[in-house]
C-alpha cells in the first residue's frame, strides 16, 4: 500500500531548529530562506515526495506540524 502525504507548518511559531529536516525520510522539508517575526528560518514543505509518515511532527518540540495522509 502506498501513501501520499502533506504537512502544514505553523510558521509563525516554528523556531527553525531543523530537527524535522534531519528526520524526514523523503527529503520533503527544508528551512526557508525567509524568517518569521521571531527571526527564525521556519520549516517548509518541498516537492511532492511526502508520505505523511509524521516523523517530522513527532520530533518537533514545538508541535507546529500537522500531518495529512491519504492512501493511493
Amino acid at each position: 500500500m502506498a501513501f501520499k502525504g502533506a504537512i502544514e507548518i505553523d510558521a509563525p511559531h516554528c523556531k527553525g531548529c531543523g530537527v524535522c529536516v534531519a528526520n524526514c525520510p523523503t527529503g520533503s522539508i527544508r528551512l526557508s530562506r525567509m524568517v518569521n517575526s521571531k527571526g527564525y528560518n521556519y520549516a517548509e514543505m518541498i516537492g511532492d515526495a511526502c508520505i505523511g509518515c509524521s516523523a517530522c511532527a513527532l520530533v518537533c518540540p514545538d508541535s507546529v506540524i500537522t500531518v495529512y495522509r491519504v492512501k493511493i
Binding site: C17, P61, S63, T66
Partner: protein, 255 residues
C-alpha cells in the same frame, strides 16, 4: 493528487496534542523539553485522565511546564518535587501524580527526595530529563555531566579528580525495592519518540497498580548549553551520552 486535496481535515494523522496549550514554549529551538511535554500531554489525553492528573514542575528550564500542559500543577522548590508528589498521592490516592525534573533538580539538590520517594515505593511517575548540564542558569556542570565535557563551571572539561564522576541515577535507584519500572529513553528520532511515549504510558499505567514508583529517564540535549546546533546536539548525544546512559528498560517488576 495535489496537496490541497490531501490537506483535508479527515486526512489528519498527526496534530498538536489537545492538552498542549497555545502558549509559545520558552525553550530554545530544538530543545527536548517540548517533545517530552507533548508525549506526556498525549498520554494523559489518550488515557482520559486529565481530570485526575496533577503535575509537579521543578526548578530549571522546565519550571514553566505548567504553562504548556493543560492540567493542574504544583510548582516545587528545587529538587523537592518528589516530596510534594509523595504527599499529593498519599492524600489523593485516586489521582495520577507525576513529577517532571531535570538533572540539576533531581540528581543534585534533590537526591534525598528522589531516593526516598523511590525507597518508600510512592505510586507516582517521575519524568527525568537528563541533558548533562544546567540549562536555566546558563550551562553549568550537572552531576550527570560527562567526563571531559565542557560547561561554564568546567571550562576545561569535567575532570573527575576535581569534579567527581557522572551520576547514573536510573541504575542507582533500580536497586531500591520501591521502584516498579525504570527505563531510559530519548526523543531524537521518530522511532525514539514512539518508544518514549510507550514508556511514559506504561509508567502512568503502573502508577495505577500501586506497585511502586515508575521512572522514565529521557536522555536529552541542551544545544544552547552544549553550544551546538540542535541537529548536531542530537548526533553528539547518540555518540557520547548513550555510552554512559544506554537506552532501554532497566527494571520492570511485572516482567
Amino acid at each position: 493528487m495535489d496537496i490541497a486535496e490531501i490537506k483535508r481535515p479527515e486526512n489528519i494523522v498527526y496534530r498538536k496534542p489537545a492538552l498542549i496549550t497555545d502558549n509559545v514554549m520558552h525553550y530554545c529551538p530544538g530543545c527536548s523539553h517540548g517533545t517530552v511535554h507533548k508525549l506526556i500531554a498525549e498520554v494523559i489525553d489518550e488515557m482520559g485522565i486529565q481530570e485526575s492528573t496533577i503535575g509537579i514542575s521543578p526548578v530549571g528550564c522546565s519550571v514553566f511546564a505548567y504553562n504548556y500542559i493543560d492540567i493542574d500543577w504544583e510548582e516545587a522548590a528545587h529538587g523537592r518535587a518528589p516530596a510534594l508528589a509523595s504527599a499529593t498521592k498519599r492524600l489523593c490516592p485516586d489521582k495520577h501524580v507525576f513529577t517532571y525534573q531535570g538533572d540539576g533538580d533531581l540528581a543534585s539538590i534533590g537526591t534525598a527526595e528522589i531516593i526516598h520517594a523511590c525507597s518508600r515505593g510512592e505510586n507516582i511517575v517521575v519524568i527525568f530529563i537528563n541533558n548533562g548540564i544546567y540549562g536555566m542558569t546558563g550551562g553549568q556542570m550537572a552531576p550527570t555531566t560527562l567526563i571531559g565535557m565542557k560547561t561554564s563551571t568546567t571550562p576545561y572539561g569535567r575532570d573527575p579528580r576535581l569534579n567527581g564522576f557522572p551520576m547514573v541515577i536510573a541504575d542507582m535507584i533500580s536497586h531500591l525495592d520501591g521502584t516498579a519500572y525504570i527505563t531510559r529513553q530519548s526523543v531524537h528520532t521518530a522511532a525514539a519518540v514512539r518508544k518514549a511515549k510507550s514508556a511514559i504510558r506504561k509508567a502512568f499505567e503502573y502508577s495505577e497498580k500501586n506497585i511502586g514508583l515508575s521512572f522514565v529517564e529521557i536522555v536529552s540535549t541542551c544545544n544552547s548549553g552544549w553550544k551546538m546546533s540542535p541537529v548536531a546536539a542530537n548526533s553528539w548525544m547518540v555518540e557520547n551520552m548513550f555510552k554512559k546512559y544506554p537506552i532501554g528498560d532497566i527494571k520492570d517488576v511485572l516482567k
